[in-house]
Subunit: 428 residues, 2 copies
């Protein structure tokens, strides 16, 4: 064994940073055996020196400023566990690379916004930039896409990328409660942040999807190219109707090749209840990769938390200790082209209408849909008679633009009592 | 890009070898971009030169003898796609390594029997030995265990590792037919070999489990240390009773750490129907890894076939082209110790009895179980009265040896009309 340890600096000692320090200490012997050399934390930075982090860091050098940490000449690699797309996290990462130090980060926002620039800088400096922990927590999906399935032309990669959203949707279904009370409970239990907008608004999932798309398709991370819709407007009624028709509602991130373009979207979708994604409950994440050689491969596991995130970061450190120096996104940064954004391809849709309960109302809806070439695959009408009728329709595949024109026509008619709901049905 | 191609020799041009050649040709540009250099087949060997393999191999050198192929000085890497634990496959692999050529193989039997010797030889020669395709086909589980989850102390790795068996069990359940006719149909459809004993006898799954255990626990592959039981004696009745009690019957490979020892077993087990493994239908494979940091990670995908196997082998070639040279099993071969074989740990069991239909029969069974400390968690008795009674019992966790003593006592009693059935319930 090469006795020279890999010398690590930890920038940030919150849940993630402390988890990494704990895991490196707890499994030091087996990590050294697998890495071919010891991996040791030599320096740390955090705002609060006094807090107990469950691991002895007394032998480490301490820097108050993460950028000063990243510049320390006695380190081989910096673990950035600060978070945020800019500010000290970005500065520390840039300083580490500029100083010729390898970088491992869990920071999806940073990479979704600045991944191309950071990957280019890392290549120019001859250092590794690794980010297994940035996508789907403990699931080694970055490695699977960049290495394990690298022989495949990928046609689609999709998944449940945000545990908070999946917990809320699962809990709405299980308890028969609507979005607001379930979110409040998730916040009380610590499953959702006090400001939940990053999660429930789909931003967190979109960061991860941008990275998955880059690995799968070799396109620029281009966060602004991801179409984002959160779960705030998913109603219990839609979860119930979907369930009765064999579907579940999931916040899905989907990236797919459409000719030369790449579609990237995060949105609530209906998926078949019996599919791997449809069976996913609670905070678990899952990613499905469809490739021309492998067919479909499914990866499931914990998407967040100290242990899973540390598992991913330590795997990156072991790779770096073993000598892995490949480009961050699996291909040279210079080849990451801004893929044309795909026009949303056709999809079947779930539609829910509140209509006047009078003869001809349903016929008018069907006529407006038909006028735009949207054809009906299945329909249900509720028997509640007090305040109009609820009509649920599943369509055959149609273009979103045509559907939107039909829905606008229906909304403008007096038979419509509320704005129609439309959710795409993703074929999973 | 390093313009020097990685020069590949294909030993064997059956389904696997031809699939590799096709994939390298079809995705040549993206594979070169990801590998940093082109990957080109330069020489091949197979018994029949004339057959159409769906890819143009006319520019390749042709060797009749795979060992001669493996000795060609103009190759960087040999892909062994011949199969078999000994014979020409083993000779070609040994020749490739001895000649300083890297090796990628899908040969689980070879590695389960000779993995330690081959890994030692590869290390001594400074070449890579890679075998992603040998376990669970297209699922990148070798990489996940050896790299992606390498920071974890693994406590258990288990899975459905043989698609033929899972197809047969799924089809018995779906169609309500017994083992023999379903096997015959699977053979007619090409899902099972004419001689199915390697699959249905659990040998194929045991080869794969031996490799998973080595990656997870750093023990000698030690195929003889795997306890093996196939699906030949699984009755439709057991699948039905299990289903009624919320379980499904799966052929499960399980490797687990028990103190300093490692238990390795392939056997039909009951698993919760709602678990990831319990939901697996048809020929799909799945592997679950339980680690101290990650918790549980689940990997699902096609376990066999030309495309998935080629996907795995080409991933190995890309890693080799990128410069990966680490030890075959993730740690130096010299450190792979023969782990003490674990005494089978306690487990809950499913038991099925055919008893005389007379007062006291069930009491005698319960008394014999109780005498050995085997306690009953649930019980069902069928109401068929024509030829004795069927009694199904789920036990709390007990030692296999104690259970076997109780079952021997019951078998020896006149109340027992047939040998009792006992299947472990694996907590998944």
């Amino acid at each position: 064994m090469n006795a020279e340890p890999l010398k690590v600096g930890l920038a940030g000692l919150g849940t993630v940073g402390a988890g990494v320090a704990q895991l490196l200490a707890r499994n030091a012997a087996l990590i050294a055996a697998r890495a071919g050399r010891p991996i040791e934390v030599r320096a740390v930075s955090a705002r609060n020196r006094g807090r107990d982090r469950g691991v002895d860091l007394s032998a480490c050098a301490w820097e108050d400023d993460p950028v000063a940490l990243a510049r320390r000449a006695d380190l081989d690699v910096v673990v950035e566990a600060i978070g945020g797309a800019n500010g000290p996290a970005r500065a520390a990462c840039e300083a580490a690379i500029a100083g010729g130090r390898h970088l491992a980060t869990a920071n999806k926002a940073l990479l979704a916004h600045h991944g191309l620039a950071l990957a280019s800088a890392a290549e120019a400096a001859g250092v590794a930039l690794r980010f297994e922990a940035a996508v789907a927590g403990g699931i080694p999906i970055v490695k699977a896409l960049g290495e394990g399935l690298a022989g495949n032309a990928v046609s689609r990669v999709y998944g449940v990328l945000n545990g908070t959203c999946n917990y809320i949707l699962t809990e709405m279904e299980r308890s028969g409660r609507d979005y607001a009370p379930v979110l409040a409970e998730a916040q009380a239990k610590g499953y959702a942040e006090a400001d939940p907008s990053f999660d429930v608004g789909g931003i967190d999932a979109a960061h991860k999807l941008a990275l998955l798309a880059t690995l799968a398709f070799g396109c620029d991370p281009d966060f602004d190219g991801v179409s984002v819709e959160g779960i705030e407007r998913v109603a219990l009624a839609d979860i119930s109707h979907a369930g009765a028709m064999g579907y579940r509602v999931k916040l899905l991130g989907v990236a797919r090749r459409v000719g030369e373009a790449v579609e990237r979207a995060v949105r609530p979708c209906l998926v078949r209840a019996g599919s791997a994604i449809g069976q996913l409950d609670g905070v678990t994440n899952a990613v499905v990769v469809e490739g021309d050689a492998v067919g479909a491969a499914v990866f499931e596991g914990p998407g967040a938390g100290a242990g899973p995130t540390a598992s991913a970061i330590v795997a990156d450190l072991i790779d770096i200790a073993r000598g892995a120096r490949g480009p961050a996104f699996g291909v040279p940064a210079a080849s990451l082209a801004q893929a044309p954004r795909a026009v949303e391809p056709t999809a079947p849709f779930y539609l829910r209408f509140r209509l006047q309960d009078r003869p001809g109302a349903l016929g008018e809806v069907a006529r407006d849909l038909g006028a735009e070439g949207v054809s009906i695959r299945a329909m249900r009408q509720d028997d509640e008679r007090d305040a109009g009728a609820t009509v649920v329709i599943l369509t055959h595949a149609c273009a979103r633009a045509a559907l939107d024109r039909a829905l606008a026509a229906i909304s403008a008619s007096p038979v419509s009592l509320a704005a129609p709901v439309a959710l795409a049905i993703e074929d999973v």
